[in-house]
């Protein structure tokens, strides 16, 4: 199990590096097309980072407010608190604040910029359906997100997406105002430049590509959280049983939005199906790996 975790972490780092490279590539493309590529990229990164900084710092408060979570009473939700405390002992994490979301759909999420400022929430639907070992598996998955600093990772990814989007926007506008010409030193020609057309196309696609990479990072972190959870409980069948129950349950949650979709344990948004003609496209933008794959991977442990 430990080797799987290390392998996963390595894959994660590679993905993020690739993502960063894509951002650099976009910057270079900009430089090629309108000049001042470095400046534009840096400005875009700065703006995106500033916007992300607030969401990162207040990640826990925002996510909890959006989902209308209430603090879980230690007496009423004794079992939940006990499970969280037990797993915190197993992992050496400080105990996060525990919340409950009043929602019939079974789901759970964890948030917070680091283990000391973390929060964990489960829906009433989850508490009703899961038995002790299954609930423990879900809690372990969420605690693994906290332990692996996944909020930081996804904020990084979102920042890069934001930066790429900004760069593309700015550059396309600059080129548009410039009459579709590509400004280069010594260029006296007023006619359109074929490079510009290609550049346009690539810049338009860049944000889509960046979002696809963000989804890939998110999926990869979910897999890491699954494996870490099993390492924490030393009992993979618990999480497997929980995932099977989640797979068979068709209740749609009302407490998630596309902004918080990546935080929940299972794909909360309806309509993002994996079957059908455009299934492969949906899968590329999905924040969670298909649940059958997750179950199959854990069964191997």
């Amino acid at each position: 199990m430990l080797e799987l975790i290390t392998a996963n972490k390595r894959r994660s780092a590679l993905l993020i590096a690739a993502f960063a490279l894509v951002t650099v590539a976009v910057g270079l493309l900009v430089g090629l097309l309108v000049g001042k590529g470095l400046l534009v990229t840096l400005i875009a990164l700065g703006v995106a980072a500033a916007m992300s900084a607030v969401s990162y710092w207040k990640a826990d408060a925002i996510a909890l407010a959006v989902s209308r979570a209430v603090p879980a009473d230690p007496v009423e939700y004794r079992r939940l608190h006990n499970l969280v405390e037990g797993l915190c002992i197993a992992s050496g994490l400080p105990k996060p604040r525990v919340y409950v979301v009043n929602d019939p759909a079974p789901n759970a999420f964890a948030t917070g910029r680091n283990p000391k400022h973390a929060a964990l929430a489960v829906t009433t639907g989850l508490l009703e359906r899961m038995n002790r070992v299954e609930l423990e598996g879900v809690v372990a998955h969420e605690l693994s997100h906290i332990r692996n600093y996944d909020i930081l990772v996804s904020t990084l990814a979102v920042t890069l997406v934001g930066a790429v989007a900004l760069v593309s926007e700015l550059t396309i506008r600059m080129m548009w105002w410039n009459g579709g010409r590509v400004r280069r030193a010594g260029d006296r020609d007023n006619t359109g430049n074929p490079v510009a057309v290609v550049g346009f196309a690539m810049l338009a696609i860049a944000p889509l590509f960046a979002r696809m990479m963000q989804a890939a990072v998110s999926r990869q972190r979910e897999t890491l959280a699954d494996v870490s959870a099993c390492h924490m409980t030393r009992y993979p069948p618990g999480l497997v049983a929980a995932l099977e129950k989640l797979r068979d349950d068709t209740t749609v949650t009302h407490s998630a939005t596309s902004a918080t979709a990546h935080l929940w344990i299972e794909q909360p948004l309806s309509g993002v199906g994996d079957s059908g003609r455009l299934g492969w496209l949906h899968r590329m933008y999905s924040t969670h790996p298909p649940i059958e794959e997750r179950i199959a991977l854990l069964r191997e442990l």
Binding site: L83, G86, I89, G92
Partner: protein, 184 residues
């Protein structure tokens, strides 16, 4: 001039590596020590819950004296046991067995089963058993981490010099590997 700079650079590098290695070893060793004490904390917590449990059960099943007494005896023995892992493990096994007998009582006494207090205590004891195992698991994980740092290169070279030695894992006692006998 150049050889002097090279030598100084190498020495600085060695010093840096040593400092990093030392700090890592200290951090991990301290985590091992902390994890060991945590196990005792959880064991003590379990022992503290038992008198409450016995009192609750007495209210409903006073004539099950034998079972109740067995639990109280086992608890006192666990408190008094010497701190060696072997003695602790043995006391632990006897206590777990006695508790199982006690919880089996609720099958015969439906009023007891429905009693909120009893249910809450049952949950607490289950949770505490979980905590004890997790504490042991964390201790073993910490030992793994510490021993691995000790044995990997380059920390390996410095470890003995800096005065660190391997730690032992917590292992279940032979008795604990047998499932407790439950009789109705």
């Amino acid at each position: 001039m150049i050889p002097l700079i090279v030598v100084l650079a190498v020495l600085a590098l060695v010093a840096l590596v040593t400092v990093i290695a030392y700090n890592r070893l200290v951090r991990r060793r301290n985590q091992v020590d902390n994890a060991w004490s945590q196990i005792d904390v959880q064991l003590k917590r379990r022992l503290d819950l038992i008198p409450n449990l016995v009192e609750t059960v007495k209210g409903y099943a006073a004539h099950e004296r034998e079972t109740l007494d067995a639990v109280v005896r086992a608890r006192n023995a666990a408190l008094a046991a010497p701190s060696t892992p072997a003695a602790q493990g043995e006391a632990d096994t006897i206590l777990t067995g006695a508790l199982r007998q006690l919880f089996a009582l609720n099958e015969a006494y439906p009023d007891l089963k429905a009693n909120q207090n009893f249910l809450a205590l049952q949950e607490e004891l289950t949770a505490t058993e979980g905590r004890v195992s997790y504490a042991r698991q964390f201790y073993n994980d910490s030992v793994l981490s510490f021993n691995t740092s000790l044995e990997t290169f380059p920390t390996l070279l410095l470890a003995r010099m800096l005065g660190f030695s391997k730690r032992d894992y917590f292992e279940a006692e032979e008795g604990a590997k047998q499932p407790p006998q439950v009789s109705f």
